[in-house]
């Protein structure tokens, strides 16, 4: 009883920050629409086939959804998780994601004056590490990063985090809302490096995102992607599965009161192409890859894919 009245007061306070949608309500209206769509084909197969012919289907975690719905659903997932995103990353990976991101930037090894486009940059982990690397390794303050994300809530959290750093209000960091599949505000051949960390698996058409990456990079520019990938080792794979499907949704529920979003996150990891297939997709977009084109991290839990535009 006391909990419900307190929750009401809490809800009243939260309406002041009206731009934040009610977390669980946002996701459950999306899942209701999803359930309605999924019940349709059973009752009316003829309209279903014409529907599927018009709008392709894609995957959303382990479910199948119409392509035009996926973007909205993913947007809602990230609107829900934005405020707790960094805390949940630490809780789910035991802090290991920080090591991955540090290694990612060291592999990129940016030189002074690099212009980076950080797509799906969200809360700014990669952008911040990039600027810190340039400053610490080269004493450089002319490096620039454009932080781009499709979700305004994640961008807000990123802007908030940057106000605590020395890059706040400098020309070194700029924020942009945009879609990785269509970077219409970014000119051709304008970026030295393009990074996308834990973002590309949420994109509906990965090939379009890769083509856009190719377009905006200067000749000689580098594409780098950090993403969850396939674990080959069968023992570790089993442990990883148990951890993903039993532990992570519980952490999501206990810490963030949002089981569904984290269920989507672990399912979307399983649906992403394995390392070799993704390296092939990068080559098909026109990039030149060195060797295999990827490096496994933590037995393949994550992988860094890289390609050059030559």
């Amino acid at each position: 009883m006391a909990s419900r009245t307190a929750l009401k007061q809490l809800a009243a306070r939260r309406t002041l920050a009206a731009w934040v949608p009610s977390r669980t309500a946002g996701f459950s209206t999306a899942t209701k629409a999803l359930n309605q769509y999924q019940q349709q084909p059973a009752s009316n197969p003829s309209t279903a086939t014409t529907q599927n012919a018009n709008q392709g289907e894609t995957h959303f975690g382990f479910k199948n959804v119409p392509e035009n719905m996926k973007e909205t659903l993913v947007k809602q997932v990230f609107a829900n998780v934005a405020s707790n995103y960094d805390l949940m990353n630490d809780a789910m990976s035991g802090g290991v994601h920080r090591l991955w991101k540090d290694h990612f930037i060291r592999t990129l090894a940016p030189t002074p004056g690099t212009k980076l486009l950080d797509v799906a940059g969200g809360t700014g982990d990669i952008a911040m590490r990039f600027l810190d690397y340039c400053r610490e390794t080269h004493g450089d303050s002319s490096a620039q990063v454009t932080l781009l994300d499709i979700n305004p809530h994640m961008l807000e959290v990123g802007k908030e985090r940057f106000t605590q750093t020395q890059y706040h209000n400098t020309s070194q960091v700029s924020f942009m809302e945009g879609n990785a599949e269509d970077l219409k505000d970014i000119a051709d051949n304008s970026m030295d490096a393009y990074t996308i960390a834990f973002g590309i698996r949420n994109v509906t058409h990965i090939d379009r995102a890769l083509k856009e990456a190719y377009r905006v990079l200067k000749p000689g520019g580098r594409f780098m992607c950090l993403e969850f990938s396939r674990v080959e080792n069968p023992v570790i794979s089993k442990v990883y599965d148990v951890f993903s499907f039993d532990v992570i949704p519980v952490i999501g529920q206990v810490v963030a009161n949002d089981r569904d979003s984290y269920q989507y996150l672990v399912e979307s990891i399983r649906r992403f192409p394995p390392q070799k297939d993704f390296a092939r997709m990068i080559k098909e977009a026109g990039f030149t890859v060195m060797g295999q084109g990827y490096e496994d991290l933590t037995f393949g839990v994550a992988a860094i894919h890289s390609g050059f535009k030559l």
Partner: protein
């Protein structure tokens, strides 16, 4: 209970009954990493025993850390419900009113309770006092968290009923909604239902109280709760919807509950 489930399973050949009754699963080995059933009702999230343990521990700590997390208290109750919900259901089956509840499965929402009609009743009538309680606290019966983690459809209803009737307990006993009175009510529910969640709340809840509240709790509320919890009839079998138009004293007399001494 054993005879009832055996009677159920004897009506179909064992090899054709893919979903064994709860009793049978105790005798067959299942990996603790596999969820035991498919989705049985709307909102059901089948979880493996391993995940259930994690959820129980995690929600216990979360609820202790932040008692306003109603969803965590709900999750704790559901993940630890187990055989205790079965015991409550079997107790309900022994009572004719309880059997009626299990058959009809009434839901308590603002429409089904007809709150506007209850507001017209004179003071001192159970329905009127119930609506007054809801209005004072500015809550409605629609804001209860639905059941997710109970692996049986009927037991999920029992859990839902337990949650929905909580407000009636306040009206019946006269307990306010301060934290110490809520814990006092948990002691009452512990004697009545024996659910592990009530046991945990009763013993760990007071850790968060001030010494004044603790004194009140253990001097007034707990002795009252122990006495009246055991004297009262099994309140899970009470069809509250039928008692709305009786006076509060009459209801208390019929159910053998003395009102809680006011602080």
């Amino acid at each position: 209970m054993l005879s009832r489930t055996l009677a159920q399973s004897s009506t179909k050949p064992l090899f054709l009954a893919p979903r064994m009754t709860q009793c049978a699963t105790l005798f067959s080995f299942r990996s603790p990493l596999q969820p035991p059933t498919e989705r049985l009702y709307e909102g059901h999230v089948p979880i493996s025993p391993f995940q259930r343990t994690l959820l129980a521990v995690g929600s216990a700590f979360a609820a202790l850390h932040n008692p306003h997390r109603g969803d965590m208290i709900a999750a704790l109750g559901e993940s630890t419900g187990g055989i205790f919900l079965r015991r409550i259901r079997d107790q309900m089956l022994k009572d004719p009113e309880g059997r009626r509840i299990l058959r009809e499965r009434p839901k308590i929402t603002s429409e089904s309770m007809q709150l506007d009609k209850l507001r017209q009743l004179p003071d001192g009538i159970f329905g009127r006092e119930y609506v007054r309680f809801l209005d004072d606290q500015q809550v409605s019966p629609d804001t209860r968290e639905p059941v997710h983690f109970v692996d049986d459809e009927e037991l999920a209803y029992v859990m839902q009923r337990y949650r929905e009737t909580h407000d009636f307990y306040h009206t019946l006993t006269g307990l306010p909604v301060t934290v110490d009175a809520e814990i006092g009510l948990k002691w009452f529910e512990m004697v009545q239902t024996g659910l592990p969640m009530t046991v945990l709340s009763s013993f760990f809840g007071p850790l968060r109280l001030s010494s004044q509240e603790r004194e009140r709790l253990f001097n007034i509320y707990v002795p009252w709760a122990l006495e009246n919890g055991s004297n009262a009839k099994s309140l899970m079998s009470v069809r509250w919807e039928d008692w709305m138009e009786r006076s509060v004293e009459e209801v208390q007399r019929e159910l053998c509950v003395k009102p809680c001494p006011q602080v």
